[in-house]
């Protein structure tokens, strides 16, 4: 808590709620008590399925809409009620929104001109931005005369030309094909690094979020479920939704046993006991105990969900070895690795992802009974 206060905050949403629709029509709560703090110079990603409120949050930061409750702060200043043209924030629109009646250069010059920069300085900024996104040759073209990928780069240049302190990007890569998308991901990372501007990036693509972000906020149904570095979110999903939305997870039911600080034991329905990481909220949500309480012991039993990543476990050498055992129902070959879909003795489905080795003989076939070895610390207790 203490060092958080020292850290510079670029954007903050404090208890922001946004409700669409008036009294008579059906109300939609697009954002439900969202609090998030985005640090200076970070690549921050809002990740969530379509309709979860990502665009709405971005629009509130840009000023195209105003929160129903709560406030938006930019570098500590409450900007909730400022119009867009008074916020030092720029947006890269999903549809690019390039001005069709202006050339590439005129589009890029628009922001600096509106800021009242002198002519020579505007020209210099335009040249610099054209160089930054490698579009020098196209400066005299109109948006309709360049490709989608190029329009995307112009949209970026136009937003950056106004030297924003925070750049908002709403699914900027979703209209591009896969190859271009990968290129632009690298390009965006480079630009963020070179300019040192805070990026708030919206995507529904978990892979994109994991590869590009410094930190990710996972959203669902208008709420932020978890905020953390990609690795943290992937390895320690706090909730069932996060575990399933980012990567794949096996979910098993179990009874929570002894909890000491962040780890605890879980007894699965098959009777096997695992050690698992326990997030703060999980125990609170359970029997109302915290880790620091009387010798860290829990007395009554609490049913929890445990998430285990398919690639974090292995098929055991023999059916009897390992923590779990089950029958192989399907084998899917992926080139670099192979997925084994198992049915555990408890009837629960379970997936194991094994890296393929050079000699290539499969570890198990359909119908085989196999064991699964689970290393300590791989299992994760979920909050709900």
């Amino acid at each position: 808590m203490h060092d958080m206060a020292v850290e510079a905050r670029a954007v903050e949403a404090r208890a922001v709620t946004k409700i669409f629709g008036s009294d008579d029509s059906a109300e939609v709560t697009a954002l439900d008590d969202v609090t998030v703090s985005i640090r200076e110079n970070e690549f921050f990603t809002l990740l969530g399925p379509s309709g979860c409120g990502k665009t709405t949050l971005l629009r509130l930061i840009a000023g195209f809409d105003h929160p129903t409750r709560g406030e938006i702060r930019l570098h500590g200043e409450d900007i909730s009620h400022l119009p867009p043209y008074q916020r030092r924030v720029n947006t890269v629109f999903q549809s690019y929104a390039l001005f069709p009646h202006m050339t590439v250069a005129e589009n890029i010059a628009f922001g600096p001109e509106m800021l009242g920069q002198p002519r020579a300085e505007v020209a210099r900024t335009v040249d610099e931005m054209l160089g930054l996104v490698r579009m020098e040759e196209f400066s005299a073209r109109r948006p309709e005369q360049i490709s989608g990928g190029q329009q995307q780069r112009v949209a970026l240049a136009r937003a950056l030309a106004a030297h924003p302190r925070v750049l908002l990007l709403d699914e900027p890569l979703s209209a591009l094909d896969l190859k271009l998308r990968k290129e632009m991901q690298i390009e965006l990372k480079r630009l963020q690094h070179e300019t040192g501007i805070t990026f708030v990036f919206v995507t529904h693509d978990q892979e994109e979020a994991l590869t590009m972000s410094d930190r990710i906020a996972v959203m669902n149904a208008g709420r932020i479920l978890q905020i953390g570095a990609p690795r943290e979110i992937y390895d320690h999903p706090a909730e069932r939704f996060v575990a399933n939305f980012i990567g794949e997870s096996n979910l098993l039911r179990g009874e929570l046993g002894v909890v000491t600080s962040a780890t605890g034991t879980v007894t699965l329905s098959s009777g096997v006991t695992l050690s698992a990481s326990v997030p703060d909220g999980a125990v609170r949500a359970g029997a109302g105990r915290t880790s620091g309480q009387t010798s860290g012991q829990t007395s009554s039993q609490t049913l929890v969900n445990v998430a285990i990543r398919p690639e974090h476990v292995q098929l055991a050498a023999s059916p009897d070895a390992g923590t779990l055992s089950g029958r192989v129902e399907n084998v899917v070959y992926f080139g670099t690795d192979t997925l084994y879909h198992l049915r555990l003795v408890t009837g629960e489905p379970f997936t194991v992802r094994m890296q393929n080795t050079r000699d290539g003989s499969p570890d198990a076939r359909i119908g085989d009974t196999v064991g699964v070895s689970i290393r300590a610390g791989v299992a994760q207790v979920l909050q709900d």
Binding site: A62, G63, F64, P83, P84, Y85, V89, N90, T91, F93, S95, A97, L98, F99, P100, H101, F110, G111, M114, L115, E144, R158, A159, A162
Partner: protein, 271 residues
């Protein structure tokens, strides 16, 4: 019943029996008289029905006819002023009905703007006649302003429709992008909305201009003595003796109409 609407196939007018025949008859009825009118404008004789050889003499005569000159200038003058004012008003109305939050009474305003499209022209004409008569008596003024005001009023919906259509099809994120790039509402309007709206405004103007140029009924009722426009002058001529001079004037008007309407469509379709 089901012959022209098969499952899985889109509706096609070709399947309606007699459709092609009706269409052809309609076209013939529309264009044959116009073709005849144009042809006889080049008649060397006095008649508008008996062909006596090719000549441009009726065009020359119309061109040199002082009454025609005066009526033409008046028509163009009234149309220019009325179309300009109507387009201005229509632009503001279109902005107010598309670029503000929906407000109470917006539908009513929409209906009011389009009133001239719904009320029979003759009713408007009579109403204006009575209304202006009262003002004329009260003020003693009988100038051209009444005619211009009347034309402006019935031109507004024609100018409004293409402008509104263009505003509605305009991507709102463009105006948002401008605001995002520090353009004040006025600068957003000047640098983004207006340039993109311009073809719509010009299209609205063209349509309003032709509609004004064309009007007979309202003009006939509203004009004071000696305020003939080209159409009312022609009407007056037809009541007396008809020569191919009327055909020549009509053909010239037709040409003007075609030019303006073509421009209108070209501008409406411009991205």
């Amino acid at each position: 019943m089901s012959g022209w609407r098969n499952r899985g196939q889109p509706f096609s007018s070709r399947r309606i029996p007699g459709f092609a025949g009706i269409a052809l008859a309609t076209f013939a009825l529309l264009y044959a008289p116009i073709a005849i009118l144009v042809i006889y404008s080049f008649n060397a004789g006095l008649s508008i029905a008996i062909w006596e050889g090719f000549s441009l003499k009726w065009y020359v005569q119309a061109w040199n006819n002082e009454a025609v000159q005066e009526a033409t200038l008046r028509s163009l003058g009234v149309a220019s002023v009325a179309a300009t004012v109507a387009t201005l008003a229509a632009t503001m109305a279109a902005l107010a009905t598309t670029r503000t939050r929906p407000f109470r009474g917006m539908t009513a305003i929409y209906t009011l703007i389009n009133q001239p499209l719904m009320v029979p022209e003759i009713v408007t004409a009579v109403a204006l006649l009575i209304f202006f008569a009262i003002i004329k008596v009260a003020t003693g003024y009988t100038g051209i302003v009444y005619l211009v005001a009347a034309h402006t009023a019935f031109c507004i919906p024609f100018a409004y429709l293409p402008i509104r259509a263009r505003l509605e099809s305009m991507d709102l994120s463009l105006e948002r992008a401008a605001a995002d790039l520090y353009a004040t509402p006025w600068m957003t309007f000047r640098r983004v909305t207006l340039p993109l709206l311009w073809p719509g405004i010009m299209a609205g103007f063209m349509l309003a201009f032709v509609i004004s140029l064309d009007d007979v009924v309202i003009t006939e009722f509203v004009k004071s003595a000696g305020q003939e426009t080209l159409p009312t002058y022609m009407l007056g001529q037809i009541r007396r003796v008809m020569t191919p001079e009327v055909n020549a004037i009509s053909t010239a008007l037709l040409l003007a109409g075609v030019v303006f309407v073509t421009l209108f469509f070209a501008l409406s379709r411009k991205r």
